[in-house]
């Protein structure tokens, strides 16, 4: 059993196949008449895999793989954090994911509020939070973050008749609309997108078809093993070379064109897309997922009168002004462009949201040695 599992894993991490894909990638990048060829991924898990396996050092020099706004914790905007902090400081018990505890609001994070005595529980899933609510009498607000993948779990819980003392403060985000924003940014060089395989298992690859039709740039859905990413990039750059703007699915072992229809039905039964700011990026039309009127009884925004004004009297910490998280999430800057990275800003003492979450680009780069592009070295192999 274990051997079967090992083989299954290794199949997508095989150095020989990786070398062949790297050579194919370099060849097609070479054939394109301009440099660099710029593509963007929109998923922290892609950056995790690229960093962990050292792929960035193996990409051809003429290929620029830009990290986009792929971290739901990171793009949770200051007012959303402020809502949770204000509720907590008003004495309402909050449950949320560990990462959300440390995302900075105007002056404070939920972690700060907890240190001052607010009641904040860290949970590993929304079902954890519901179980907790069932054991207590007081109201419990689940501060929910995540893209459509996680929002489905929230929807399923709300459709399952949760206890009356339970409610949701939704900071859920929806990825397709932000791709429009990034593609339309002035001076955008993005020629193609690598889309996240796990989100596409829910939405289906077809969700990107209107985007491709409108913007004329290809989208390739890719998985998270190193060979998935390399194969996805090869296909994406081939489409760029051919001038062929279309959606392709390079993760067919998990993703279909239609996606998970039952999950989609639940998602849109509970949530409606509304416009809202993503931290550091812009106002994103239809980028936020909020509860529909039918679920008002479980919507913390409608159950509580959230007064954030007291938070605005505090000045934000001085270093925040130098934080480049916004530009990093928009794909305009990289962590090494930030003066604070790895110095004043570390996972233990994060200044910006990108250093908080395991999906955040700064945290990922820091975890895997700081600067992924090592450049050439004289001696490559160890022995």
């Amino acid at each position: 059993m274990e051997n079967v599992e090992q083989l299954r894993q290794l199949k997508f991490r095989d150095p020989q196949r990786a070398r062949a894909l790297r050579e194919a990638l370099a060849a097609v990048v070479d054939r394109i008449d301009h440099t660099p060829v710029s593509v963007m991924h929109v998923c922290g898990s892609h950056e995790q895999a690229i960093a962990k396996f050292g792929l960035r050092a193996a990409f051809p020099a003429g290929l620029d793989v830009i990290m986009g706004p792929g971290c739901p914790v990171c793009v949770t905007d200051v007012p959303e954090v402020d809502e949770a902090v204000a509720l907590a400081k008003a004495g309402v018990r909050i449950a949320t994911y560990g990462d959300m505890l440390r995302v900075p609001g105007t002056a404070q994070s939920l972690g700060h509020a907890r240190a001052e005595g607010a009641h904040v529980d860290v949970v590993y899933s929304i079902t954890h939070a519901v179980e907790l609510a069932r054991t207590i009498d007081e109201p419990l607000v689940f501060f929910a973050s995540g893209f459509e993948t996680t929002a489905v779990a929230t929807a399923a819980v709300l459709l399952g008749d949760p206890p009356a003392n339970f409610s949701v403060l939704s900071a859920h985000k929806y990825i397709p609309p932000v791709m429009e924003i990034v593609a339309e940014m002035p001076g955008s060089r993005i020629e193609g997108f690598l889309a996240a395989g796990h989100a596409a298992t829910i939405t289906g690859s077809a969700v990107f078809e209107p985007f491709v039709a409108q913007h004329g740039v290809p989208v390739v859905v890719a998985g998270f093993e190193p060979l998935d990413i390399l194969a996805g990039l090869v296909r994406l750059v081939e489409l760029i070379e051919a001038g062929d703007a279309r959606v392709e699915n390079a993760y067919p072992r998990c993703v279909t064109r239609e996606g998970n229809l039952a999950a989609q039905e639940q998602l849109w039964c509970v949530f409606k897309p509304t416009g809202g700011r993503w931290r550091g990026i812009a106002h994103v039309p239809n980028g936020n997922l909020r509860l529909r009127d039918e679920f008002a009884g479980w919507d913390a925004r409608r159950r509580f009168d959230i007064d954030m004004s007291a938070l605005w009297d505090h000045a934000p910490p001085a270093l925040v002004g130098q934080c480049q998280c916004g530009d990093i999430m928009a794909g305009i800057a990289s962590p090494s462009d930030c003066e604070l990275f790895g110095k004043q800003c570390t996972p233990d003492e994060p200044v910006g949201a990108c250093m908080v979450s395991s999906e955040g680009t700064c945290k990922i780069w820091h975890q895997y040695g700081g600067h992924p592009d090592l450049g050439p070295m004289a001696e490559r192999r160890a022995s």
């Binding site: 150095p15 990786a18 396996f53 233990d348 040695g369 700081g370 090592l374 160890a382």
Partner: protein
């Protein structure tokens, strides 16, 4: 030691015990000041595994280590076995592979069970037998309930060596070997603690390895130029220290690093790199290239060295840094920092 500019804060956080840069800063800024210089030997300022004091034509090696692990009993060992292995191995890392004797001080919390104490003492005795040594003196204190967590054990050890092996003898071209699989101790402890209640066969590798090390030293002779046990901070911390003190870069061929299937699986599950967590029965050898194969063969002859492997080499580029060749690409190996693994050794 230039790579550690961080300044120790007003209050000592848990990260200062994690074996990374914060701990080095603590030692450099608080403990070394004005002390620790040893003529013709190794003192505190060298921040090596132990000290070496000249006695005639040999050196007396001395080392001390406190053990505060939770849980006290864990898969593969307990605090008693760990206390012996830790000190015996630190002596061996300086070249003293035949310990003359150990001291053992126990600080016990009021209410600690007699049967548990006897079990710990039994495993101290067994580990001493394996290492070919014994406890020659000790001390006992009892503290009030809540003033410490169960049991703290400190051991010290002494041994003699004809040749001191430090962490700083590497030069470009040298090879790096490990004596077996990486990350077993740290991940086995994590698996017992994690709320996911993982069902695993993984055991700590805790063992005195002085006899294994003796085989390697005998085979390599003067061509063994660096030696260190990858305890807190794991292989990564050890390689960074070796690279830094020797002024070389190190390139590690990741597929060559032995990792058990269990440790790999738990590491993936918890998102923790086996190269960043503690081992308690392993050594990293730095060896001149011409002697690497001979040392490897000798290590593999010992039961604790069956999975020994050559994992990398020293280069003159990127002094102080460790580059990981993943087989798919390359990246820097990060040094463990922060609150990854408090209190596991």
């Amino acid at each position: 030691m230039t790579r550690n500019p961080q300044f120790v804060r007003d209050h000592i956080g848990i990260e200062y015990g994690a074996g990374g840069g914060a701990m080095r800063a603590l030692i450099e800024q608080i403990f070394i000041g004005g002390m620790g210089k040893v003529e013709d030997g190794v003192g505190l300022a060298a921040m090596d595994d132990g000290a070496a004091l000249r006695i005639g034509d040999r050196w007396l090696v001395i080392t001390t280590d406190s053990h505060v692990i939770q849980p006290i009993r864990f898969p593969g060992g307990d605090i008693g076995r760990l206390s012996v292995a830790g000190t015996v191995n630190d002596l061996a890392m300086m070249g003293a592979t035949e310990p003359l004797g150990l001291t053992c001080a126990a600080i016990i919390e009021e209410g600690f069970a007699r049967a548990d104490l006897e079990a710990v003492w039994q495993s101290i005795r067994r580990a001493c037998e394996e290492a070919g040594t014994t406890v020659v003196t000790g001390d006992t204190k009892v503290m009030g309930r809540g003033e410490l967590d169960g049991l703290v054990i400190n051991t010290a050890g002494i041994g003699l060596t004809d040749r001191i092996i430090t962490d700083k003898g590497l030069r470009p071209g040298d090879r790096l070997l490990v004596t077996g699989t990486m990350g077993d101790h740290g991940l086995a402890i994590m698996a017992t603690r994690n709320e996911l209640s993982i069902d695993t066969e993984l055991k700590s590798d805790v063992a005195p390895i002085n006899q294994l090390v003796r085989l390697g030293l005998a085979a390599g002779g003067n061509d063994v130029v660096a030696l260190k046990d990858p305890t807190r901070g794991g292989l990564s911390s050890t390689l960074h220290e070796m690279a830094d003190k020797s002024g070389v870069g190190i390139v590690i061929d990741e597929p060559s690093v032995p990792i058990s299937n269990e440790a790999r699986a738990i590491g993936e599950l918890l998102g923790i790199d086996p190269l960043l967590v503690a081992n308690e029965g392993k050594a990293v050898f730095g060896v001149r290239a011409s002697a690497a194969d001979a040392v490897l063969v000798a290590l593999r002859e010992h039961p604790l060295g069956r999975r020994a492997a050559i994992i990398g080499r020293c280069v003159d580029e990127r002094p102080g840094q460790v580059v990981l060749d993943t087989g798919l690409g390359r990246r820097l190996l990060a040094e463990p920092a922060g609150k990854l693994l408090p209190r596991i050794c």
